[in-house]
Symmetry: none
Subunit: 204 residues, 4 copies
């Protein structure tokens, strides 16, 4: 009897092996032949695990984003202040570590697909991601309000924050010399000036 393969796992394995192709070539230039070669399998084998080329790319992106979400959840746990936590959502556009740039560029390639194809699967997936971060930021803001850090109306800014972050991302993707960090800090500081509850510090 032949070895039984966990198809779902192998899908992930193949996609994982190819996850760098996105940065090396750009999504549009990935070919099935490349994928097969990179994963060290035959072209036909690719089609044992994926419906078509789109499916491959989708899985690769999926992996990228899933990984990012997990890291996000992991690292936000250690943060204490609301402001820190909010900043954490902007890490994606600010952090220039190789690690994060990989994710960022992965997202860039992903966007280029969503914008040119109107693939339903991609759109749905995009929604899922948006909801993820929307839920997260809502939670952070809520906790901030409950802790007396933020004014109650702050809850209305959840969406604006994420929209601003999307705009920042887009600018960073399309402009050469964009000082994301500075612009980002300015904005958040300004905003917090508006929604933060200034606590009287240690007065008698």
């Amino acid at each position: 009897m032949p070895k039984i393969v966990d198809k779902e796992q192998k899908r992930k394995d193949i996609a994982l092996a190819c996850s760098d192709l996105i940065h090396d070539l750009g999504i549009k230039k990935i070919t099935v032949a490349q994928v097969a070669k990179t994963a060290g399998i035959g072209k036909g084998t690719v089609y044992e695990y994926f419906e078509n080329k789109e499916d491959i790319i989708f899985e690769i992106i999926n992996i990228h984003i899933e990984e990012y979400h997990n890291k996000f959840l992991e690292s936000i746990k250690d943060l204490k202040s609301t402001r820190e936590k909010v900043f954490h959502f902007f890490n994606f556009v600010i952090d220039n570590s190789e690690e994060n740039l990989k994710h960022f560029n992965g997202y860039k390639e992903y966007l280029s697909i969503v914008l040119s194809d109107n693939d339903e699967k991609m759109i749905n997936f995009n929604d899922t991601c948006n909801i993820f971060f929307h839920d997260q930021i809502k939670k952070v803001i809520k906790e901030g309000i409950e802790a007396g850090d933020l004014i109650p109306k702050s809850i209305d800014f959840c969406e604006s924050l994420l929209i601003f972050e999307k705009g920042l991302a887009l600018k960073k993707m399309t402009e050469v010399d964009f000082n994301t960090k500075e612009v980002c800090h300015n904005f958040i500081n300004n905003l917090f000036g508006l929604i933060e509850i200034k606590k009287e510090k240690k007065n008698v």
Copy 2:
């Protein structure tokens, strides 16, 4: 005397004739054959005026955006209040007239190209556009401050406004049910609550 053809003008003519192809097919599906046919010239002739296919697309987009800029300048002239003028910058993402959607979708196609190719020309062109709107909004805000409509610090929000608009555009492009108008209004109203100088209205 041979007929001297203004190459630059003919480029524009060809691109102009093809400007609807972007909406009809999407940028990725435009072929040189299509361009030639649409412009009513031969395939070979296309290459007399354009380096390659990228160059054609670049010119088509150029025309779109140039046209949009002109319309923008034209229509902002009639606006009086600072708030109206600022809103005008968001017309691009809010106005759902067929006319504007054409521009909006053209920009979407354009983005998908900029994000996947890292074409230098495109990037430079993108910068030019950004500078255009940045100059425009700066002017509006400045005038607003000088007119006593806005607080002096408002000038710091120019970039944020444009970034927010970019984020809005991106969301509108990638999400199915996104209420651009509402989100936009909320944001601007909130912001103006912060930077507008409330004038005592003509009381005795």
Copy 3:
């Protein structure tokens, strides 16, 4: 004592399980994967019992035709008059019952293979079928002659009858609105006008 599998029987079992695939997909579109799945066995196992794909198709067709032959022999037993028996040979092209159409379309698929491949096995098999019906019609005509129904020369028409039936089949297969029944009846009635012995009916 190991389980001894009758290979020949298993061949039949597999082919039998797949006999509907011919109608559902058409011979050309049958894949080995389909066969394996339909028969509820592994792809590798198919090759334990069949040399190659051709061999599978051959067996499936074999089953179809064998079945048809058996039914033919079964049903002709009950017929009394020579004319009825001769008509029975044309049932194949006239009968539009679902059951018979299955056989008819099976034969059509089979022909498309015989005509495109020049597979020796197929040709031989085809001969076997022809001989079967030739023997059968010869027997019918002979009995008719012996019974005094037909003129002795009728024996020369055996082949013509079968050829005509092949022609009818081909027309039915390739034409949209072909009235097989009418054409068939005309021909046989005309022919019987020629070869039947008119019996004086019950005169004193």
Copy 4:
């Protein structure tokens, strides 16, 4: 200015150049690469003149059959007696000259396509051919009746004759040792015994 090509003519030229591929390989094994190579042109050029592979094959067959029809019309002109003319319709299945075998085998390949694909174009074309021969034989029989060679009822046998010929063709295509000529002669002679008007020869 580039040379202007008569597209329709070039289509024919390419198909003509490839007309032997049908006999050399069989229709199913013709590849576009083969066609291009045989016609001495590039693969892409093939697609300048044909929609797809089916279209190529269709044209090749078209040429074969058109040519055959023309030859048929040409050669039947010289025949005098009705019997000769009727025999002429069976030339297709009887004549074993290389020339005619080419046409015959072309038709065989064509049939294999019609039987496996249910391509509408092919079916329509098939009808056209049937009508052609039906019209021709009707004309011959009519003239035979008018000339007093055949009994008026002969007109009813037009279809039967063609059906018989189709049956003969099918047998010749699928059987190894089939004496088409003899069987054909027998049938026609038998039939003419039935429908011919015996003329009293040379009486005072």
